[in-house]
């Protein structure tokens, strides 16, 4: 099982299209991609298109939290677009909805 991560061009802030399962095996790939993007201290906002993400485990949530912890001191935020109802339920139960911004489509990310 693999995870595809693709940079979406044309936005003022980094946008990544994520495709696949974010689990204990693949979360390291996501972490690496996010760390690369966040290494640029000018980055304040990050958007992730979750329309092709069917599964996120606590290992994936841990990576999202890392991104939030990096951007918050910069006055920034992490936006998730097109999150499935099932993944939204998991974000809600974990309390992650309070510090992630959820939007219906990537266009709405700003």
């Amino acid at each position: 099982m693999s995870l595809q991560i693709e940079r979406v061009q044309g936005k003022e802030f980094p946008c990544l299209l994520i495709n696949g399962r974010i689990d204990t095996t693949t979360s390291a790939d996501l972490q690496k991609s996010l760390e690369d993007v966040l290494a640029d201290a000018a980055v304040k906002k990050l958007a992730l298109d979750f329309s092709a993400v069917q599964y996120v485990s606590s290992a994936g949530l841990r990576v999202l939290l890392m991104a939030v912890k990096t951007l918050k001191p910069r006055g920034g935020s992490v936006v998730l677009a097109a999150v499935s109802a099932e993944v939204q339920q998991v974000l809600k139960i974990s309390g992650f909805q309070s510090f992630l911004t959820l939007v219906d489509t990537l266009e709405q990310a700003g």
Binding site: T25, Y55, S57, E86, V87, Q89, G95, F99
Partner: protein, 147 residues
């Protein structure tokens, strides 16, 4: 439909098992949410076993995690997953409930989050130590995720 198999109690074993479960659930036409929750139950529990069950003793080839999944209903709308391992006695549900769900992002400790999710998503959880084995059983029902 049922499936029963074992994987080595290692990180590679966890990945192998996740692939087997995904194939089984696809073949059984299990609904998206039920599949998600079963996958999560397996991954979170197996990860805990590999991480904590073998923290004092290196897992050998004999150290396996046994997984059984039963689906009921056509199409499946309820399920039970049973996970057995031979590591030291360890009840995942004995951990104190996650207390900092409401705290600010920068203050959050992440440990225990997987178990917190399972407690909330499962309709039933149980643990017993029997014949030197940890036996953890979780039951799930397909339901409206908005509830």
């Amino acid at each position: 439909m049922n499936i029963r198999f074992s994987v080595p109690a290692t990180q590679e074993g966890i990945t192998q098992g996740a692939d087997q479960i995904t194939s089984f659930l696809e073949a059984a036409h299990a609904p998206v949410q039920l599949s998600y929750h079963l996958g999560l139950a397996y991954e979170e529990l197996a990860t805990n076993i590999v991480k904590y069950g073998y923290e004092y003793k290196q897992a050998t080839e004999q150290d396996v995690i046994l997984i059984s999944i039963e689906l009921s209903g056509t199409p499946p709308d309820a399920s039970q997953i049973r996970i057995e391992d031979h590591s030291h006695p360890y009840n995942p549900f004995e951990q104190p409930p996650q207390s900092d769900i409401e705290s600010a992002a920068e203050d959050r400790a992440i440990g225990g989050l997987g178990i917190h999710l399972l407690r909330k998503l499962a309709s039933h959880v149980s643990y017993e130590r029997h014949d030197d084995k940890n036996i953890t059983i979780l039951a799930f029902k397909d339901q409206d995720p908005a509830l």
